[in-house]
């Protein structure tokens, strides 16, 4: 227990999180443990990968960490203090932001991109109203979009463009930690690479920490310093990305690694690039 008390400033931590859902089948109610006693922490400047198959609880865990879902047990801590009430969550969301998995549902369909991006500035009064358009244009350029995109509606953009907009919107409040839930899994492979590269650039430029959730081990390997492997609601293995990939200890991790098409060739290719 004491070992987990890394109470330095800026650390986001989920402690002993349990989340159960009631599922009703054939008239009987059954408890399903989506997340079972899981702890995660992310320190400033770190990229933590959370990997596991669909339905293993990684999205639920990430949603608990931003307060969209409530844990059945356990607590979320930020900067060493528990996040308890509404005010705490509001404070946390000034420095921790979230990018949703599905770029098509995460943007309000009736709001222009420019307005959607300016909204966080207006809500928190981050700058004078006259400066908002300029900030939005600069942010659009930073995520690799033309400033004219501000005048478009969400349905006029492609999936990759929308995901860049979602990323930009989360960055408008200048967060220190960004939680990315499968943000490239809905995109074409060629676009995936662009968005990942963008994420790495932004991480460098804005000094971000990332929690990066994915079921794609190649993406995790490419991006993360540290990786946690989730299986059926529990963390079965964690450690430095390289050591987990080169020397997996848990059977599930081995199965995952073996399932990567051309794993050895992909590794070789990445080693060449590095």
């Amino acid at each position: 227990m004491n070992a987990a008390v890394s109470t330095s400033a800026g650390v986001l931590e989920a402690r002993n999180i349990v989340k159960t859902f009631s599922v009703r089948r054939e008239g009987r109610t059954r408890e399903v443990r989506a997340v079972n006693d899981v702890s995660v922490a992310v320190a400033p400047g770190e990229i933590v990968g959370l990997v596991g198959e669909s339905g293993c609880g990684k999205t639920t865990l990430s949603r608990i960490m931003i307060g969209i879902e409530q844990p059945t047990q356990g607590e979320v801590r930020y900067g060493g203090k528990p996040v308890a009430d509404r005010a705490d969550w509001a404070a946390l969301r000034r420095s921790v932001q979230y990018v949703f998995q599905d770029p098509f549902t995460a943007l309000c369909p009736t709001m222009r991109i420019g307005k959607a991006l300016a909204e966080p500035l207006a809500i928190h009064g981050l700058c004078a109203p006259s400066e908002r358009d300029g900030k939005v244009a600069r942010m659009l350029e930073m995520v690799g979009l033309h400033p004219d995109v501000a005048r478009r509606m969400p349905n006029q953009l492609s999936g990759g463009q929308r995901q860049r907009v979602n990323l930009a919107r989360a960055l408008m409040v200048e967060p220190k930690i960004l939680i990315c839930d499968e943000i490239v899994s809905g995109l074409d492979v060629s676009v995936q690479a662009q968005v990942l590269q963008l994420l790495l650039d932004l991480k460098q430029r804005l000094d971000l920490s990332l929690i990066f959730i994915s079921h794609d081990l190649r993406v995790i390997r490419y991006l993360c310093d540290r990786v946690l492997v989730m299986y059926l609601g529990e963390i079965v293995e964690q450690g430095e990305t390289a050591s987990v990939f080169d020397n997996p200890r848990h059977d599930y991790t081995r199965t995952l690694l073996a399932a990567i098409p051309d794993h050895s060739r992909a590794l070789a290719a990445m080693a060449d690039n590095a």
């Binding site: 931003i66 307060g67 969209i68 509001a90 969301r93 000034r94 932001q97 979230y98 949703f100 599905d102 770029p103 098509f104 549902t105 995460a106 943007l107 309000c108 369909p109 009736t110 709001m111 909204e119 966080p120 809500i123 928190h124 349905n155 492609s158 999936g159 979602n166 919107r169 989360a170 408008m172 409040v173 899994s185 809905g186 995109l187």
Partner: protein, 291 residues
């Protein structure tokens, strides 16, 4: 995975169905425009005032002089139906706007209120939906003298709950979507989410509701006036004129049936418009890849 959402109108309505929708919508608009123009231009079109009595020309059947015939005291029926249209359409319009305003407010409260407000509003909507409105009207008009403001109030009371239920359903559906959660994470207040994010998605359905409720309002005004609880004589309204003709239905059929025809045509036009708009918003949603 994301590809189907960007494909154009796959599985959307076919050409024939789209054509049918457009023809119905067009016919509705044309009919409604005719009825509204006739009511607005009543002073130009009517051959006499709506309350001008001519005791020498009582209960005349339709003829070149009196296209719609005359009633029991010799008033020109076409003039009365034209002027009655002004009264009926105006009252229905004001009633519809009042009902939609109250309904939208309550529907949004039922979706976005706090945990005490939501169930309370839900119960009020249910009670209102369960209450027979003609009974309510009889109760109210026996307590206070029937007049036009009372009539409009009754119409709003009778119709707002149906609008509230539609608004609530759409708002709740939108509320569960990721974009609302994203706004919450960015710090948006519940009021802000309701007004700026969710309400614009409710708007297309509100336009459909406006047409449907306008039709219901016209019938409701006619019902109450026919029962003597609505617009009071000698002011003509479509329901009121039908009441005048009720006693002569076998000897002078035109007095009751021609204002009835005006009611049927107008509400038919509005229902056609409502159906057409509904089909269009649905097609639009399907195109947007709204999931």
């Amino acid at each position: 995975m994301a590809a189907p959402a960007t494909l154009p109108t796959q599985g959307g309505p076919g050409l024939i169905q789209r054509l049918r929708v457009n023809v119905a919508l067009g016919a509705g608009v044309v009919l409604l425009v005719i009825m509204v123009l006739a009511a607005v231009a009543a002073p130009l079109l009517a051959s006499s005032g709506p309350t001008e009595v001519d005791l020498m020309a009582v209960r005349l059947p339709p003829s070149p002089q009196h296209w719609f015939g005359t009633d029991a005291v010799g008033r020109d029926l076409l003039s009365r139906v034209l002027y009655g249209g002004r009264v009926s359409l105006l009252i229905a319009g004001v009633g519809m706007i009042g009902s939609l305003t109250l309904g939208t407010l309550m529907g949004m409260l039922a979706a976005f209120g706090n945990r005490f407000v939501r169930p309370a509003v839900d119960r009020v909507i249910e009670i209102q939906l369960a209450f027979p409105y003609v009974l309510l009207a009889i109760a109210v008009t026996s307590a206070v003298r029937p007049s036009t403001p009372v009539l409009i109030l009754l119409m709003v009371l009778a119709a707002w709950a149906a609008a509230a239920r539609v608004v609530r359903a759409i708002a709740l559906q939108e509320r569960g979507k990721d974009y609302v959660k994203a706004a919450e994470v960015l710090g948006a207040s519940r009021l802000r989410i309701a007004m700026l994010h969710v309400f614009p998605s409710v708007l297309p359905s509100l336009v459909v509701l406006a047409a449907m409720q306008m039709a219901a309002m016209i019938v409701f005004e006619a019902t109450l006036s026919f029962l003597g609880m609505g617009v009071q004589p000698p002011t003509p309204s479509w329901g009121g004129i039908m009441l005048d003709g009720k006693n002569y239905i076998t000897s002078a059929w035109w007095v009751a049936s021609l204002p009835g025809l005006a009611i049927v045509v107008t509400s038919l036009a509005l229902v056609l418009i409502g159906d057409g708009l509904q089909a269009r918003t649905e097609a639009m949603r399907a195109r947007e890849g709204d999931r």
